[in-house]
Structure formats: C-alpha cells, structure tokens
Symmetry: none
Subunit: 137 residues, 2 copies
C-alpha cells in the first residue's frame, strides 16, 4: 500500500518537473507553446488512464474478503466457517469429520447451526446462500 503511494507520488513529482521544464521551453519559444500544452495534457491523460486502469480497476474484479460484516451479523464462529468451506467443496459429514479431526456428531451440530444461521433447510442451500452473501467464493 505505502509502496504504491510512494510510486504515485514519485510519478506526480516527475510530471511536475516535466511541466516546469515544458513551461520554460514554452516561454522561450512562445509560438509553438500550444504543442507543449497538448503534450502536457496528453501525458497526464495517459498517466491518469494508467492509474485508473490499475488502481481503480483493481477492486472491480471483486475482492473476496470473506465478508466479515455478514459473518458478524449472522454470528458465524470460526469453526463454522471452516465447516462451511468444506460444504462448499461438496464433502460429506464423515469426510469433514476426518479432515477436521473431530467426531461425526460434532460436524453434524456445526452443520445444523450453519443451517439455522443461514436460514437454509439443506446443506446445498446453505452453500448457495453463503455464496450470495459473499462469505465464500
């Protein structure tokens, strides 16, 4: 983050210096000054396009943060989120139990709580809702 700010700041400084230089040139030969004005405008336009493309377009492809807001509102515990990931992968309760190193009964209670917290009647339903809420990808 700071790296990018420094980068952009440097670019701005460079652009400013360029402007100063161009301004000087323009004062010396004032007849062709309009050319430099266009160069300045074009240069900053290109710079802006570049910044916009990689700065603003970055968050456009949807950053999957796991949507902490929704998680907090629903009151999903860390363990339940883990189980939710397993559900997303289409695993059975038994598989989840083995992968998480807990008993089948424990997985069943976690799944049951996920179902009620997400307002779902089936595990597939829970996955679909979680995806809509942006909790999982």
């Amino acid at each position: 983050m700071w790296k990018r700010i420094v980068l952009y700041g440097t670019l701005l400084a460079a652009g400013t210096l360029l402007l100063q230089w161009l301004d000087y040139q323009r004062l010396v030969r004032s007849h062709i000054g309009d050319v430099y004005v266009f160069l300045i405008a074009g240069g900053f336009l290109v710079l802006g396009v570049w910044l916009g493309a990689r700065g603003i377009a970055r968050p456009a492809p949807r950053a999957f943060d796991g949507n902490p807001q929704a998680v907090a509102v629903l009151g999903l515990s860390p363990r339940e989120l883990q189980v939710l990931e397993e559900l997303l992968a289409g695993r059975s309760n038994q598989e989840i139990a083995e992968r998480l190193g807990v008993s089948l009964n424990t997985v069943k209670t976690h799944v049951a709580r996920l179902l009620e917290k997400l307002g779902a009647k089936r595990r597939g339903d829970a996955v679909a809702r979680a995806r809509e809420l942006g909790i999982v990808r």
Copy 2:
C-alpha cells in the same frame, strides 16, 4: 462505440479550450501561472483516471459461456444441465421435481446420471466439480 468517441472528443476539445483560456490568464498574471498548470495537470489526470477506470476496466469482468466443450465431452443432456442448475441453487429433489414439472423419480435418475458423468459421489460434490469445469458459475 461512436457515441463514446464523440463524447471523449468533446471532452478533449473542452479541455483544450480551457487550456487556451488558462494560458491567456497565465500570460496576463504570470506570477500565479503555476497554479493553473497544476489545475490542468490535475484535471487531465482525473479525466484519465475516469477513462481508464471505465474504459479499460470494462473487459475485466469476462463473460461466462457455460463451457460447451466440457458439456460435450461429458455428454450432459439439456435436461441434465437444467437439473444441475437446480442443484447449484441448493434445492431438494422434491423441489426440483415440482419446479420442472416432473416426478421425483425422474429427478433422481437425472441426478444419478449427473453424479456418474461428473464423477461425483454427492450432489454437493457434483456442484463443486461443475463449477471448477466452468459449466456453471
């Protein structure tokens, strides 16, 4: 497309006129001219950011095709694809039967064929695989 070109052209022309005016002002009161230079640079920078954000970032959210290749290779029938969509939504066999206007048994056979064609043991597994293959979103 032409609409946008005309729009951008108009914006450029307006910016040029602004530049001309600012240039005149600068010549009159040459001491505060640097302020205008910064305004010009900033204005075009903002314009460029705007253009870059909505022009270049446009093709980023790529279209979803449904991956006909994978469907053909797996030999998935149209009806099976319909059922697959229902599975993605997390619906039960009974719900799917009602929504598609067929019997529960029919849905079960469709699901069973989807499972074997997708190499899945559970419906959730089938959904996960179909998503990986790009058949569904």
